[in-house]
């Protein structure tokens, strides 16, 4: 085999290997999620069957119906949990964005003493593990009567989201040339007007992705929620799922349905913002 044929051969083998490996990797990524979705449509009988039933026969929405009907799947009030999660996540996101915009803008546009120290301090608060923070928070909130309330959890989530939101928004505002606001001011705007009319619209997409990031963090949070909520009054979806698994270890179908419900908003939002998420992470990191 002459040397050119050798090289051609090597290239083809390399390409084939690469494709196979990629296929395997993508399968590992997709299969668990798909398996859960699939099983949420199967009756428990099928799931428990031995020998295992691979080809699903008769998919139905029973599990979903049971979830929403009456007191929910055997006493787990799914609708209530969903609503709680929604209210808490949305509210904490909005507040975190407002605070984040203020803070991010300050870091992007101003110089002041102790800037990097404050910045690092902010980021480090994010590093505190949820469960470790939950202990003293529990004590404080018990004494102030905030356990098992929306307000309490919202405040906690705002604090959780602010550092990262500031980091992202800082990165995005740095992308906006400062000359824009100066030009607007020369054209007659006050600083406030210049910000809203000129700088904000340009950084809008960044703010949006920071918002979605914050929403997802709140939506998915478990460690703090599990201890700071007590009843269906304020319990969120992650806590609900956890409770479900420990109480009803046989009703896999129902649990899968709950899981699917939990992930749908997250999927939609992440999809919308995937490009910005990546950009946000690398901007925030590289400019950081």
């Amino acid at each position: 085999m002459d040397i050119n044929q050798q090289h051609r051969f090597k290239t083809r083998i390399g390409a084939a290997l690469r494709h196979i490996t990629l296929f395997v990797a993508m399968s590992i990524i997709c299969i668990p999620g798909l398996w859960i979705v699939l099983n949420s449509f199967r009756p428990t009988v099928d799931i428990m069957a031995k020998p295992p039933v691979w080809v699903p026969r008769g998919l139905n929405l029973d599990n979903y119906r049971a979830m929403f009907g009456g007191a929910g799947e055997g006493g787990v009030p799914v609708v209530q949990y969903f609503t709680n999660s929604l209210i808490i996540s949305v509210t904490s996101t909005v507040i975190a964005i407002l605070i984040g915009m203020a803070g991010g803008y300050a870091f992007a546009r101003y110089r002041f003493r102790g800037k990097s120290a404050i910045f690092i301090g902010l980021l480090l608060t994010r590093a505190v593990p949820g469960v470790a923070l939950s202990l003293p928070l529990f004590i404080v909130m018990a004494k102030t009567g905030l356990i098992d309330t929306h307000v309490g959890l919202i405040m906690v989530y705002v604090a959780m989201n602010v550092p990262f939101t500031i980091w992202l928004i800082d990165g995005f505002f740095r992308q906006v040339p400062p000359d824009l606001a100066e030009a607007a001011e020369i054209d007659g705007c006050t600083r406030w007007q210049a910000f809203w009319k000129v700088e904000f619209p340009v950084a809008k997409s960044g703010v949006a992705s920071a918002g979605i990031f914050a929403f997802l963090t709140s939506w998915n949070e478990y460690a703090l929620a599990s201890q700071l909520t007590r009843s269906t009054f304020s319990k969120t979806m992650p806590v609900g799922l956890r409770d479900f698994t420990s109480e009803f270890t046989i009703n896999w179908g129902g649990m899968c349905a709950l899981a699917v419900l939990m992930i749908i908003p997250a999927l939609i939002l992440t999809f919308l913002v995937q490009k910005h998420l990546i950009a946000g992470l690398t901007f925030g990191g590289v400019k950081g």
């Binding site: 040397i3 050119n4 044929q5 090289h7 051609r8 290239t11």
Partner: protein, 362 residues
């Protein structure tokens, strides 16, 4: 046996063929320049020779060995990139010695080779700097140094001077030529600048739209262009072209301008043939400010639209046969706007092209 040989080399991108079966034979130690406008396929061809692009059809041989599928590292070539492609995280010394380090050469030999290259290109003072600390011209020299360190069979240059300012470009042109004299190796050089091509090449290959229009020495392509494209591409300012017709033994152009058929072409034209007359600015000069002409045309009176004084000569823009043409004025004096001068055209230096094929009549 040619050092580098291209046989019917073709390149497709999907359904689009961008290089159409090129044939080239390049001898050992020859300095060949591929020149042409953007998108003519010259860089693609160079990259195919380097092995950075796949060949869709045809064969490329280096040193007699067909290398179609061989990766660049096995072809024993060096390349100088347009953007220098220096390794930013390495010092100049490490950049120069990188290829030898990869080849596993002993440190002493690497140091010697690096020192040699640095000496030839005057890089000794910069050896410990990083590329970001160097100027454009210095980076260019490091890129060249990196190429010569390996003593390859062929040097490839991909528009290396495009990013430099005019003065530096002129300097580096001379450096490259001196380098070639010192290091007797085959060079294939790509550029869009015909001045670089003319000054550096042993042989010029002019390309357009994936085809070779003409190859030859700088003198050949300047004096005997095969078509109007080559004629206007080579030489600055570009050749003037006037479309006309052969009528009654003379060449007739728009607005009543006529000249006799030049002697060189007397046997080659047919009555009624549509032709294009080509002449360079140096071939049309005003009376009293010209060299002796071999075959001077009758006087032509024209008003000067714009004059560009260049010092030793002035470029005059005038209108002839309804078109703007350029003429040169030697031993110049200031020319007033709209001043009318008497010009002569040197018919012996003119070119005649067939209007339909755009090829030179021969």
């Amino acid at each position: 046996m040619a050092q580098v040989q291209l046989e019917n080399v073709t390149k497709n991108y999907g359904n689009l063929e961008v290089v159409h079966g090129i044939n080239l034979d390049i001898a050992h130690n020859e300095f060949v320049v591929l020149v042409g406008p953007s998108g003519c396929g010259k860089s693609t061809t160079l990259r195919m020779i380097a092995g950075l692009e796949e060949i869709s059809a045809g064969d490329i041989s280096i040193g007699g060995q067909i290398v179609n599928d061989m990766p660049p590292r096995d072809r024993n070539i060096s390349m100088v990139f347009q953007n220098y492609a220096l390794y930013p995280h390495m010092t100049v010394r490490e950049n120069l010695g990188f290829s030898l380090q990869i080849a596993g050469k002993p440190p002493a030999e690497i140091a010697r080779a690096v020192g040699e290259a640095a000496g030839i290109l005057s890089l000794d003072d910069y050896l410990d700097r990083k590329p970001s600390e160097l100027s454009g011209g210095q980076r260019q020299r490091v890129a060249m140094g990196r190429a010569i360190v390996r003593h390859p069979d062929v040097f490839l240059f991909d528009e290396p001077l495009s990013n430099l300012d005019a003065k530096l470009r002129a300097q580096m042109r001379v450096e490259i030529k001196k380098l070639h004299q010192k290091i007797q190796t085959t060079v294939i050089y790509v550029t869009h600048d015909q001045v670089e091509a003319m000054t550096l090449a042993d042989r010029i290959v002019i390309m357009r739209d994936g085809n070779v229009e003409q190859q030859g020495t700088p003198n050949e392509v300047f004096e005997r262009p095969v078509n109007t494209f080559v004629a206007t591409f080579i030489g600055s300012p570009p050749m003037n072209l006037l479309p006309g017709r052969v009528t009654g033994g003379a060449l007739v152009f728009a607005r009543g301008f006529t000249v006799p058929v030049p002697h060189n072409f007397a046997q080659l034209v047919a009555e009624g043939q549509e032709i294009v007359l080509g002449f360079r600015a140096d071939n049309m000069m005003p009376e009293g400010h010209a060299l002796n002409m071999d075959e001077a045309s009758p006087a032509i009176e024209m008003a000067v639209i714009v004059s560009e004084p260049l010092g030793t000569e002035t470029l005059l823009y005038t209108e002839l046969a309804g078109q703007e043409v350029q003429a040169k004025m030697l031993k110049p004096r200031p020319v007033a706007d709209r001043e009318v001068l008497t010009f002569h055209l040197d018919l012996a230096q003119c070119h005649l092209f067939d209007a339909k094929t755009q090829n030179t009549l021969r």
